[in-house]
């Protein structure tokens, strides 16, 4: 450790030992240490408490920020749809609708916020002849409007709602393991306009109600089969609400296809009747969509939904 042959170092060791020879720690050092231990434990608890309070404040702030970014009730809405493509692969569609501001609703008018948007992500898994493939279909609602058309003076209660649906834009999206679905970016979709009118929004029990559904799509015709007929729910469980039979999904993974020409304009008008057997408030719900029914809509296909509240007495 040291040089034992160095007389100076040897003497240093001896003199250091001589300085403290016979020295002993006072007995009360243990008592002082015990007091100091208590003091340190208290400080540790205090630090832990401060740290815990800081973490709690951070978590609260994070929750608040998330709540501000996605207001509950008017915020993000998710919808997952699972389907299978023609070659057996799985297609999962997740739809998120973002509403930046609150919507208000009353018996006479409803206003939805402008600038809302819907993002639909479609994931293809297990496709034959390659790895997983993905595509993204983004539907932007640039100006989703819901307005109540007021009837002429002296007529019965307001009876119509009109919806301008979202602009449906299918991108020329691709995956590294796959390829583009469209060889070029399709043009912007013209939204579908849906109007739902009922002859009386305050019918009596047993009274026949007539509902007229009118849908217009400037750039896409309506199919003649059942899925293009509006899904209709009277609100009294006489006929259950039907799930949309046509999902907004990208085409099945195939060779890149050129963007087709618009087939529109398309127009659809149908009339339905119904008799309510019980009193109380109800909501008539209508879904309408243009284009083909099979998965893989054309880039001009659009959808729209409308709710019309009525009160049976």
């Amino acid at each position: 450790v040291t040089d034992p042959h160095d007389p100076f170092e040897r003497e240093l060791t001896d003199r250091l030992e001589a300085i403290v020879h016979g020295e002993a720690a006072p007995f009360e050092l243990v008592d002082r240490a015990a007091a100091r231990t208590t003091e340190l434990a208290h400080q540790r608890r205090l630090r832990r408490g401060v740290t815990g309070a800081g973490l709690a404040a951070l978590v609260t702030a994070a929750v608040w920020l998330i709540a501000v970014a996605n207001p509950i009730g008017n915020g993000t809405q998710h919808q997952d749809t699972v389907a299978f493509g023609p070659d057996g692969h799985r297609i999962t569609t997740t739809t998120e609708a973002h509403h930046p501001t609150s919507s208000t609703s009353s018996s006479t008018s409803t206003t939805e916020p402008e600038g809302a948007s819907t993002t639909t992500t479609t994931r293809h898994e297990g496709a034959t002849g390659g790895g997983p493939v993905r595509s993204t279909t983004t539907t932007s609602v640039a100006a989703t409007t819901l307005s109540t058309l007021n009837p002429p003076e002296g007529a019965p209660e307001p009876k119509c709602v009109q919806i301008t649906g979202p602009s449906n834009s299918v991108h020329d999206s691709w995956d590294e393991d796959y390829r583009r679905f469209w060889t070029t970016q399709p043009p912007e979709d013209q939204p579908l306009t849906l109007q739902v009118c009922v002859d009386d929004v305050t019918p009596k029990k047993g009274q026949e109600v007539t509902l007229t559904v009118t849908a217009d799509d400037p750039d896409q015709t309506f199919s003649s089969d059942t899925c293009s007929l509006p899904n209709l729910f009277w609100g009294d469980e006489a006929n259950p609400k039907l799930a949309p039979c046509r999902d907004t999904v990208a085409p099945a993974p195939q060779e890149p296809a050129p963007v087709p020409e618009p087939s529109g304009p398309g127009h659809l008008q149908k009339t339905f009747t119904h008799t309510y057997s019980s009193t109380g408030p109800s909501t008539i719900h209508v879904d309408a969509g243009s284009g083909p029914d099979a998965p893989g809509p054309l880039p001009y296909s659009s959808t729209a939904s409308a709710d019309l509240p009525i009160a049976v007495h």
Partner: protein, 185 residues
């Protein structure tokens, strides 16, 4: 070293079971080390009160990790804790402040080590003229008989630092003692 070497072999230094890690068990394990630690502290500290505070503070600081089972070699851990208490400037100030508050009822704080032990001892005086870190290195190497690696580990510095600081400290001590002895002759 003397008889204190045998203390490191006592069964009390072994890490006790979790159930035996109370304050009493800690004091039992600490007690054989205390005098040795106190002497090291006396040599490094500038006064006796600092040495006492360093040992009691080190004991308090060692209890929590010892209780948690994080201390494998209590003697080395305690030695490092004592030296840290004495070489850390912040802790020295806190200790001095605490001691200053206590001086009114206890005159021990006024008594310098040199006054109490060997105020005429030239080596002691020369030692006190060294910087704190160098003094700690000299004490650990020539009193505690630690190796360069052990000294470096205790102080938390590189071995090269220990070597160079030892060299500087010895040179300073030689010059100081040589000049003093020449002057006295």
């Amino acid at each position: 070293m003397g008889s204190d070497d045998t203390l490191t072999l006592l069964p009390a230094l072994a890490v006790p079971a979790a159930a035996d890690r109370g304050w009493d068990a800690f004091v039992t394990a600490w007690w054989p080390l205390q005098d040795r630690l106190f002497r090291i502290a006396l040599l490094i500290a500038r006064d006796r009160s600092d040495a006492e505070d360093a040992v009691s503070d080190a004991m308090a600081a060692t209890y929590a990790p010892w209780k948690a089972g994080r201390v494998r070699a209590l003697d080395a851990y305690a030695r490092r804790a004592v030296v840290n208490c004495l070489t850390s400037k912040g802790r020295r100030k806190v200790t001095a402040d605490r001691h200053r508050q206590r001086r009114t009822g206890d005159e021990r704080g006024l008594r310098e080590v040199a006054d109490h032990v060997a105020d005429r001892d030239l080596i002691r005086e020369a030692l006190l003229e060294l910087p704190t870190k160098q003094r700690a290195i000299v004490v650990l190497r020539y009193y505690a008989q630690l190796s360069v690696a052990e000294t470096a580990s205790t102080l938390g510095v590189a071995e090269g630092t220990v070597k160079s600081q030892t060299h500087d400290a010895l040179r300073a001590l030689r010059v100081r003692l040589g000049a003093t002895q020449e002057g006295s002759e």
